[in-house]
């Protein structure tokens, strides 16, 4: 909503027609002689050989899955094998057009792209670079294994062995796989060769590649490629990604140095089937996949349909798209029509298609067809072809024998190291801030900075009167300060989300930042929660650091896969190769009813791989945000809309002006006591403080109030120490009790601190029904009187205080009703 973009009704209301440019279909007709003159015979022969390698590699996997053997090598492989036999020309043709530094992101069916991109990079990189890459893989371990067992003096041949060996051991989930066996068939990757995560979620790579392209635009070079299937055109996040990659501000509003659409190629490997559903004619509305380009911009995303059985047609197209992307005219779309002869997976009996159809496509087979063309042109003869195939088979057989050999490729020994997987969940690294973050004006000139300089750092006047949100630093301000600090000192940091720029975020946390940050560091995202978070994942795993915002926590549902499967998992699934410095800010609403007021902390704490924070005071918010931004792990940072105006009421010195960090995972005593412990998450802290006041004045009970502050990680020691003193514990938060993090805490504390307990651990969340409208909220979110009722009637029954709330329910009866 920048004011410089004027929406003029006199223009928008004019009668006109929308002219849509035509989209080329199978336009490639370059004679092979011309290609031969440009590429040379060696390169053309290599393309044929690369396709043979892919097919033989996948034939081997099919053998392991189907017969438990390949070429006399016996092996039972239990994992997935989504094969691309028949589609090799798309992988090889596209990789041939890419630079070593271009990055490909794939799908569950990406062995072919992996091998093709790797082989292409091996040809394009120098010997020193290849040595460095091989030495850099697990400290040179994979290379040492090869050196002792397979002879060669040729660095490229060695690199080829390295590529195939690292991939196959990864697929077989051996400890020396490229990702330490944590990725497997559907998620193998090797960033050093430009092969980025292959993704088991259909279309998952579209927005991740888009974010990688954003990183490349701002800090890197080359392009990002999303290798995705025709089935993924039906996935919302893919549509979101194609919009994000070409959004108008990139050319209209961003600084000249960064102008233009993102350098991302959406390369659809269109094999006509989405598992067993036939896209064209059955499950898709488009007749030609490339038609989709017309929906996104006047260039049709430079879309075209190409013959995916001809590697040269694919190479020609990818090369032209790459030129456009480098010229900042992205994004681009290619519909590469191809066909897989094998099933979706090895359990697919192809009940949805005819034998005639499969045979018809076999008759235009990429490998056989290309070999015939080369022979017709005199580039190859029968003997050379047979020799080439024999060489390929020998290579795959050698690599396979080595990969199944437990001595050369040891399985992960989980007995010897029970935490081998667990250790990969978080890096727990703290980054050093390099300094030099680009600003368009000095931070001191920011109106917000001058405004905050005049505010009180403590929330109470010397006379003990609470100061208003206009007079003292609030949580909103306390979040702003470390974010500004990191923008000043971390040149790779960017932030985006809905209404993030002029508005400063719907709740004003970033207010003022647009005065000092250029567009490319702070921008308004489309209402595309999935693509926003997935692109942040791509930006982060490329080496950047990013804060994205969900305006309401309730919108997590719109980005479930992106949070649960992408943001949470790539660090560990990479076997520690990648980092995920991504902070996702989620504000928890109130007063707006059932779809805008939910505390969904329990959803993200359930997912391994995410750190989760929910501060309730300005002091904590500032220190925890600083730690979240300094760490290299993904953090979901919850904020309460009800608390944005809250000033600092606990720290006597107030919120420090200087930058400081509070380690994630440390709960904090907000009020000391000896009779009962109340552990709160989020805004419930303030209700507990009110209740503690009443307990002290009316009953002489000293409640100890602990604010969890962080949920993952969580250090139980402080709570257990408190419990040893009090013997009684109540947990309070504003999340639905069933499946909540409170229940996790309750179960764990009961296990860890049973010997201290004088009464069962009590839990007070919200009822297991929808958040009602604003007027009924006080009956829904736990109030001080609800806390008093439970403390006085269940935890310390001697107090026998008459109930004042209505939360002393029969929870067993409610559960029976699903409540």
């Amino acid at each position: 909503m920048p004011k410089i973009l004027h929406v003029d009704p006199s223009l928008t209301r004019q009668k006109t027609v929308l002219a849509i440019k035509s989209i080329p279909i199978h336009a490639y007709d370059t004679p092979l002689a011309t290609e031969r003159a440009a590429l040379g015979d060696g390169r053309l022969r290599r393309m044929l050989r690369d396709m043979m390698i892919i097919r033989e590699f996948e034939t081997m996997l099919a053998g392991f899955k189907g017969q438990g053997a390949y070429a006399g090598i016996k092996h039972i492989y239990a994992g997935p094998a989504h094969l691309s036999i028949g589609q090799e020309a798309v992988a090889v043709g596209s990789a041939a057009a890419l630079d070593a530094g271009d990055h490909v992101f794939g799908s569950h069916r990406s062995h072919g792209e992996f091998i093709a991109k790797g082989l292409s990079a091996i040809q394009k990189l120098g010997g020193d670079a290849l040595s460095q890459i091989m030495e850099g893989q697990a400290g040179g371990q994979l290379l040492r294994t090869l050196e002792g067992r397979l002879g060669t003096n040729d660095i490229r041949q060695r690199a080829e062995q390295f590529l195939l060996f690292g991939l196959l051991t990864e697929i077989l989930m051996r400890s020396n796989g490229f990702n330490g066996g944590m990725g497997g068939s559907m998620h193998a990757f090797c960033p050093a060769l430009g092969i980025y995560p292959n993704n088991a979620i259909v279309g998952g790579s579209a927005a991740i590649a888009t974010g990688a392209a954003l990183y490349k635009k701002l800090h890197g070079q080359g392009i990002a490629v999303a290798n995705i299937g025709d089935g993924s055109t039906a996935c919302g996040p893919v549509m979101e990604a194609m919009n994000l990659a070409g959004m108008g501000q990139l050319t209209n509003l961003w600084d000249e140095a960064y102008q233009g659409g993102l350098p991302v190629l959406f390369l659809f490997h269109n094999n006509f089937y989405a598992m067993g559903g036939q896209t064209n004619g059955e499950t898709a509305s488009w007749d030609r996949l490339s038609r989709l380009g017309a929906g996104f911009n006047a260039d049709n995303m430079h879309a075209e349909t190409v013959d995916g059985t001809n590697p040269l047609a694919v190479m020609d197209s990818v090369r032209r798209k790459r030129d456009l992307l480098i010229a900042r005219r992205g994004p681009a779309l290619i519909d590469a029509e191809c066909y897989r002869y094998v099933g979706h997976s090895t359990t697919d009996a192809s009940a949805y298609r005819t034998k005639e159809e499969i045979e018809a496509w076999r008759s235009v087979d990429a490998i056989a067809g290309f070999a015939l063309s080369l022979k017709a042109e005199g580039i190859l003869d029968d003997e050379a072809e047979a020799e080439m195939l024999a060489g390929v088979k020998q290579t795959i057989q050698q690599i396979t024998a080595l990969s199944v050999d437990p001595e050369a490729s040891p399985p992960i020994d989980i007995k010897a190291d029970p935490f081998a997987v667990g250790r990969l969940m978080f890096s727990d690294e703290l980054a050093t801030l390099p300094g030099g973050g680009a600003l368009i004006a000095p931070a001191e000139t920011c109106s917000r900075v001058t405004q905050l300089a005049k505010r009180s750092r403590v929330g109470k006047s010397p006379e003990g009167k609470k100061l208003s949100a206009m007079a003292a630093i609030t949580i909103r301000d306390a979040l702003f300060e470390p974010i500004l600090h990191h923008f000043q000192h971390d040149p790779l940091l960017i932030a985006y989300g809905e209404e993030n720029r002029e508005w400063g975020g719907a709740f004003g946390v970033y207010r003022g930042l647009s005065e000092i940050l250029p567009y490319h560091r702070l921008f308004n995202a489309p209402i595309s929660e999935a693509a926003t978070i997935a692109s942040a994942v791509g930006y982060a795993l490329e080496g950047g650091r990013v804060i994205v915002e969900l305006m309401y926590t309730d919108f997590i549902g719109r980005a479930g896969d992106e949070i649960f499967n992408q943001m949470a998992k790539w660090q560990s699934m990479s076997g520690g190769v990648l980092r995920m410095p991504l902070v996702l800010r989620c504000s928890i609403g109130s007063k707006y009813g059932a779809q805008h007021s939910q505390d969904w902390t329990g959803l993200v704490t359930h997912i391994p791989g995410l750190k989760v924070v929910y501060p309730a005071t300005p002091y904590d918010a500032k220190g925890l945000m600083a730690s979240a931004l300094a760490g290299n792990d993904p953090v979901v940072f919850f904020e309460s809309q009800r608390l944005y105006d809250t000033t600092e009421l606990f720290q006597p010195e107030g919120v420090p002006t200087d930058y400081y960090r509070i380690p994630l995972g440390t709960p904090d005593i907000k009020r000391a006591g000896k009779d009962v412990t109340i552990l709160t998450i989020g805004p419930s802290l303030y209700k507990a403080i009110d209740a503690a006041e009443t307990l002290a004045t009316e009953h002489g009970i000293a409640a100890e109030i602990i604010d969890a502050r962080s949920l993952v990680p969580f250090d139980y020691d402080l709570v257990l120490t408190s419990l040893a003193k009090t013997g009684r514990l109540l947990l309070v938060s504003e999340a639905c009790e069933r499946g909540s993090f409170l229940m996790t805490l309750a179960a764990n504390i009961q296990r860890f601190g049973f010997k201290h307990l004088k009464a069962p651990v009590e839990v007070l969340g919200t009822p297991n029904w929808i958040v009602p409208g604003a007027d009924l909220e006080s009956s829904y979110f736990p109030q001080a009187h609800d806390i008093l009722d439970i403390v006085c009637n269940r935890l310390i029954p001697d107090l026998a205080r008459p109930a004042t709330g209505d939360r002393l329910w029969d929870n067993v009866a409610l559960a029976r009703q699903g409540l």
């Binding site: 109106s447 405004q451 005049k454 208003s468 949100a469 206009m470 007079a471 609030t474 909103r476 508005w503 400063g504 709740f507 004003g508 207010r511 944005y644 105006d645």
Partner: protein
């Protein structure tokens, strides 16, 4: 004719706002609809437009001061023509 410029209603739950900056000084001419001040709530900054064409006669709430919703921030002396419109 004197016209009062008041702290507007900024939201049902917001009771006060802060004078961020005056864009005009006492004695300056102002035009109806022209932005003459910026006020802040904890969440956002908001432009304040002159309610009349005339002269900014008196500033009552200075920069950085906090004022309740409805409080008089300044007096505008409206032009005769404007006042009779």
């Amino acid at each position: 004719m004197d016209i009062e410029l008041v702290m507007p209603v900024l939201g049902v739950e917001i009771e006060e706002g802060q004078m961020r900056a005056w864009q005009k000084s006492e004695g300056d001419s102002v035009i109806q609809g022209e932005v003459i001040a910026v006020i802040s709530t904890p969440k956002l900054d908001m432009d304040l437009e002159s309610p009349a064409t005339g002269v900014l006669k008196t500033i009552i709430v200075d920069e950085d001061e906090i004022a309740a919703v409805g409080a008089v921030l300044a007096i505008i002396e409206a032009d005769e023509d404007d006042a009779t419109d």
